[in-house]
């Protein structure tokens, strides 16, 4: 029962485990679940383990039980591809009508949005069929409008009230704010970056080590022997380089600022530099990039165990990255293209990560992102991305 539902959650990116699915069935057997609204609550409590996925759950639930529109969580590629295809086909409506199995008059009656939706629905069905998997209740038949198929009456079985039917509740999308796509707050960043530290003993020996004291005392035939240790401090060196130039970073100023503020308050040994678009001969310690330049070459003498974090959208004209005089600043004319500088940085600091505030589904559309991606491990500037970056930065090799 509800196997399709389970797999639809999985396909939409909610990490659901088979164990929890079995547990849901145990709950169903217990007699406590007497209607769809009970099922909504029970399944969510048992299957979904983080409020970040509640929003997706709501959408999948509404889709499964009432055929509400399910956005494609896999991103924009399908969308873009579909649009391109559709544009092609729109030049030849006859072929389109044939391909979709409806006649031309019906086709004309549809608005472009409806048409696109219809087409996407068909397309989705097809990919599903290829996976040999779930049946998409709701995209029924050949009806020209997307979701008019399955519509169960009497949602509120048993009449237990939640003031609304479960589907209505799900459609409310109360948890939109908690979804992964929501903006990053400082507290969330703090949680994600907490693991970014290396504790080393420093300072005076003033921490009593009880275990050592006991064993030393027993070895000493019961005469008390007290052992002290140094306290642990965070001694991780972090170099943060921020792209603060150009309009392309403007939409992300707020999130980068949050990251910066958090880092400054949290890390003892933090160096912050600024650059514009890409890194050439210099980075700057001051945000206007004028007074305190830092030569990239000189970073070679720095501790190679420092963690290098670069924040930028990595989006620029390809020549800015590849050409020998790519910098838009006239004084940077050393004859080395930026890409060499980036390679040098990646070689100097083996623990490095590039945080990109643009959504990862758009990365493939910008060429320079692809190039930089091959040099630095790149992560999205989101909660999940930060998590990945921290894992990368703290890994041993």
């Amino acid at each position: 029962m509800f196997v399709d539902f389970f797999y639809m959650l999985r396909d939409s990116g909610v990490p659901v485990s088979p164990t929890s699915f079995l547990r849901l069935h145990k709950a169903l057997k217990s007699g406590l679940v007497t209607g769809l609204s009970d099922f909504y609550t029970a399944a969510r409590a048992i299957l979904v383990k983080s409020e970040r996925y509640f929003d997706i759950y709501d959408q999948v639930f509404a889709h499964f039980f009432q055929g509400a529109e399910l956005p494609d969580f896999k991103g924009a590629e399908l969308d873009a591809a579909a649009r391109a295809l559709l544009d092609e086909w729109l030049k030849d409506p006859q072929a389109l009508a044939e391909a979709l199995g409806i006649n031309q008059d019906e086709l004309k009656a549809m608005s472009p949005e409806e048409l696109l939706k219809y087409f996407l629905d068909r397309l989705k069905e097809q990919t599903e069929a290829h996976h040999g998997g779930s049946r998409w209740i709701g995209t029924g038949g050949t009806s020209p409008v997307g979701h008019s198929g399955f519509h169960p009456g009497g949602m509120r079985v048993g009449g237990r009230s939640m003031n609304k039917s479960a589907v209505k509740v799900a459609l409310d999308r109360r948890y939109r704010d908690y979804s992964i796509e929501g903006p990053l707050t400082q507290a969330q960043m703090g949680e994600a970056l907490k693991r970014l530290r290396r504790m080393v003993p420093v300072g005076p020996r003033d921490n009593l080590n009880i275990d050592e004291t006991i064993s030393a005392t027993t070895k000493n035939a019961g005469e008390i022997e007290i052992v002290f240790d140094k306290g642990l401090r965070d001694r991780l060196k972090i170099i943060l380089m921020i792209d603060n130039g150009g309009w392309s970073m403007d939409p992300y100023v707020e999130v980068v600022q949050t990251l910066f503020n958090y880092s400054r308050s949290q890390f003892k040994d933090l160096k912050t530099f600024y650059f514009h678009n890409s890194i050439y001969d210099f980075v700057w310690e001051d945000p206007p990039r004028r007074y305190k330049p830092q030569r990239i070459q000189d970073l070679a003498s720095w501790d190679p165990d420092s963690r290098l974090v670069i924040v930028g959208d990595a989006s620029m004209a390809p020549y800015e990255l590849m050409a020998t005089d790519g910098s838009i600043h006239i004084e940077e004319r050393s004859g080395l293209p930026s890409i060499d500088r980036l390679n040098l940085l990646a070689k100097l600091f083996r623990h490095c990560a590039w945080l990109n505030p643009t959504p990862s589904r758009l990365w493939s559309m910008t060429r320079t992102i692809g190039i930089i991606y091959s040099i630095f491990p790149m992560f999205e500037l989101t909660l999940d991305g930060l998590d990945g970056a921290v894992t990368q930065l703290m890994s041993r090799n």
Binding site: P15, S17, A45, K49, R52, M162, Y178
Partner: protein, 283 residues
């Protein structure tokens, strides 16, 4: 299938206003004998829930407040070596020094296991401990038994306690941990719910004041740039203060004069922000 007689259903208590969804989740967790993990911003009543379950079901409540320094074994049992040393030196107690059993004291989880009646075990703010602690603890709770190494004895739970775990963390707990819990996120109460909650605390509050307070309160939560938004606790205290103040007229508040802002905004930058924004709004 458990019938309603042996498994009493939970439907809220006198001090706690429960929404139906949460009641259902609590009941399912009790039926499945699974720990229930509650998340939500401070002031949504995560801790209160455990108290009210205990009260409603008539079970004793055992609270384990997690601290970052807490070790799992401390939550299970303690071997009181100091008393034993004392007894062996001075020998003036009824305890048998050669019997270590006499010096084992049960910790909070241990007490829930050996209790004669079913208990409610609240593990509060689990996110304060490190991941290993969390996973190890869930192992114990899953198997419902632990070993006392000193006397080589296994303690098994007589009755599986109702386990409620709360967490404030924005970040998720580890996967194995989550796999063994049911999960619920308590959203901040809607105004309707909030009115009920306030009613529970002040049964004689007049409607006009209640209405204006709740409205102002939600208005204040909307202010921009506030780090710690006022929560239920602040609202209750604020209303209490307003009722003490004999000069206060609800009409003043309609005009945007809000007394005792300090009760609602406890951080000084927040307070200043709030004062500024309210002034701007009035002018």
């Amino acid at each position: 299938m458990p019938d309603q007689g042996t498994n009493p259903a939970f439907s809220g208590s006198s001090k706690y206003v429960l929404d139906e969804e949460l009641a259902k989740i609590v009941n399912i967790s009790i039926a499945l004998e699974m720990p229930l993990l509650l998340k939500g911003e401070p002031g949504t009543g995560k801790t209160m829930l455990a108290h009210s379950i205990a009260e409603t079901l008539g079970m004793p409540l055992i609270v384990l407040n997690v601290k970052s320094s807490l070790k799992l074994v401390e939550a299970l049992y303690q071997y009181d070596t100091l008393t034993r040393l004392n007894d062996s030196r001075f020998g003036d107690s009824s305890r048998d020094v050669s019997n270590i059993q006499d010096y084992i004291r049960m910790g909070k989880i241990g007490r829930a296991f050996v209790a004669d009646t079913k208990t409610v075990l609240l593990i509060d703010e689990i996110d304060k401990a490190d991941t290993d602690f969390q996973d190890d603890m869930l192992d114990v709770l899953d198997q419902m038994e632990f070993d006392i190494i000193e006397i080589d004895k296994t303690i098994s739970a007589r009755l599986r306690p109702v386990i409620i775990i709360t967490s404030n963390a924005k970040k998720d707990l580890s996967d194995p941990f989550l796999g063994r819990c049911n999960f619920h996120h308590i959203a901040f109460p809607e105004p309707d719910m909030m009115r009920q909650i306030v009613r529970v605390h002040f049964s004689d509050l007049d409607n006009e004041l209640l209405e204006i307070c709740v409205k102002t309160f939600y208005g204040l939560r909307e202010l921009q740039g506030i780090e710690k938004k006022p929560a239920t606790r602040e609202l209750i205290n604020w209303i209490r203060a307003l009722r003490q103040d004999h000069d206060f007229r609800p009409k003043d508040m309609v005009q945007g004069k809000i007394p005792f802002l300090g009760i609602l905004f406890k951080k000084s930058p927040d307070y200043q922000q709030a004062v500024q924004q309210i002034r701007r709004r009035r002018s």
